[in-house]
Assembly symmetry: D2
Amino acid sequence: MTLATVKECLNQISTFINKLPSLLDFEQVEKMIDMLIYAQAANRSIFVVGAGRSGLIAKAFAMRLMHLGFHVYVIGETITPAAGKGDVLVAISGSGRTGIVVTVAQVAKQVGVKVVAVTSHPDSPLGKLSDHVVFVPGRTKISDETDYFSRQILGIHEPLAPLGTLFEIAAMVFLESIVTELMHRLGKTEEDLRARHATIEVP
Amino acid sequence: MTLATVKECLNQISTFINKLPSLLDFEQVEKMIDMLIYAQAANRSIFVVGAGRSGLIAKAFAMRLMHLGFHVYVIGETITPAAGKGDVLVAISGSGRTGIVVTVAQVAKQVGVKVVAVTSHPDSPLGKLSDHVVFVPGRTKISDETDYFSRQILGIHEPLAPLGTLFEIAAMVFLESIVTELMHRLGKTEEDLRARHATIEVP
Amino acid sequence: MTLATVKECLNQISTFINKLPSLLDFEQVEKMIDMLIYAQAANRSIFVVGAGRSGLIAKAFAMRLMHLGFHVYVIGETITPAAGKGDVLVAISGSGRTGIVVTVAQVAKQVGVKVVAVTSHPDSPLGKLSDHVVFVPGRTKISDETDYFSRQILGIHEPLAPLGTLFEIAAMVFLESIVTELMHRLGKTEEDLRARHATIEVP
Amino acid sequence: MTLATVKECLNQISTFINKLPSLLDFEQVEKMIDMLIYAQAANRSIFVVGAGRSGLIAKAFAMRLMHLGFHVYVIGETITPAAGKGDVLVAISGSGRTGIVVTVAQVAKQVGVKVVAVTSHPDSPLGKLSDHVVFVPGRTKISDETDYFSRQILGIHEPLAPLGTLFEIAAMVFLESIVTELMHRLGKTEEDLRARHATIEVP
């Protein structure tokens, strides 16, 4: 076997990640970073939420924020406390329509939490209700516009990675770049992160 | 249908819970409460761990400790930070032999964490390595001694609830009683707990 | 210290569990058991959902259903597939008003899933939309009627266990009795359960 | 502010993903794919495990395998059943030394499960005990060799992304390419995946 599909998929993802910086709006990124730093400075908490694979990306981001010393919680985990005024919710949804993420964002707004949406669809229900939107490209599960979107925006003729995969990878890479910027601005070294890294790790 | 099994099982569990106070060693309980309060007073963290259904009981306890204002983390969740000297690990295992719980307790000891075992088997590997053991009765997955244990200690002739069920229920009830004692000693009301209860709840 | 609160709390929970069988409606229980067995017989799946501590009780029940050989999934876990016609959702909420559980139950109904509510409030939003309701007593987080409810129904003068604790314990005990009845009806032994019990356990 | 760190980090990750195909050993990839397909053909299960962020990548992969129709379970989740002879464990650890992942792999071997390691360190404890190793590049938490490794292998002068980030991204991208290859070989379309995608999604 030639593994042609593996290779072509790797090439497409590589092409897509190469284009990612040109597709981001860095003013949106700057404002998101400010919101995180201001919440921390005010001793407030960051909450993250996402459904399915976007939820896993949200958790990966939360883990690094914890390493950086933020008060950060994952919606739905055991020790997540009350959220309230001054806190920030980072809500991740490619389509911006995932029912439960929209519901969580609505409840968050009602209790005074600022919502940052990370989505490919700023005009979605999630985008519209959020205090701030960061556009992250990706085919999403809403595939009507797939062909146009993939060819024109992502530069991929026939995307192989299914469903929300490209958004999820883009979101993960984007959020990592936020982490390095936060390290830089807060003067944190890798050793600082390592010092807070779980010493008792389990799956 | 008569639901005879449902009814008999409810009766057995009731009999067992009735006997629970007479089977606990309240000096062990007192010391566990002290360890939790001293950790909090020293601004240290509580970690909880358990595998399978015991892990769920551990999480239920952690949630109430969070409501009470403790710094508490579940081993294996996203934002669990490094544990270290002065922290306390509550390790729950009926048999005291669950491989991963024993491993976690060993690692915890190595980094200076005090380990409290909640187990039916104080002589087990977990019990032996722990700094403090609280005996909580229950048939456990080690069933060799089941018949004797059930008849003599638990007062149940032929226990219906399978595997570790009785231990898990006893552990849950026992840990709830710890929570009410902590409320009493720390002067916390139900309103205080409600104020920290997650405002954005998801499954 | 005398641990008076621990002891009184244990007594209250014991009193409450003693009363539990007289507070259940066994026709409701029978119908719930039938729904589970019929779903399994038709090769359909059981889904469980609950928020916070009720979600942990839901998971404990799901684990035993898996041991019994049911196709069972926890809403929100990684490998939970599409639900559809003929499947059953067991939704656990003491108050019957937990926003996200109600939302999940609504979505489940829309895709043809039968919903069984386990709740202290059959007249709640969850109770009203469910195909079947099983009443399980307990003080719940809705505490307006607490005094009356606790004294008259639960037989406890001033309940110590905070918030939803009594419901959660009652739900756990009740669901365990369902497990033993299912073992009986399906002819499963403890060895059968043990054979499906996770061999690689982690917290 | 110029967001220079965000931009440089995005560039480094892009450079790294571009190099990824040339760093993989496609014979290793082919054998991993075969092991997954043979397990499915024999009606056996796939288990996945990883600690921390690698565990999240493992879950993202498991979710897609479920969408593809595999019997797949995440070690540590509620309804994960017994593993045994003929099953496959995919263990993800950049360093290959994460204590709990090594322990899980050892237990898996003892019960007859074939272990596939996805790691940057084939000579690690995990690599050595596994039945099959797939090398995925990345700086890992073992940073002694960081400078050499980053400059020579990854083509990055001073990597900004901290700790295991590069491995985690590479593992996610690599596993996505496996998913598309499996779709191709099993003749599955995006619609097939969508049909199994959770209809009741929560965080």
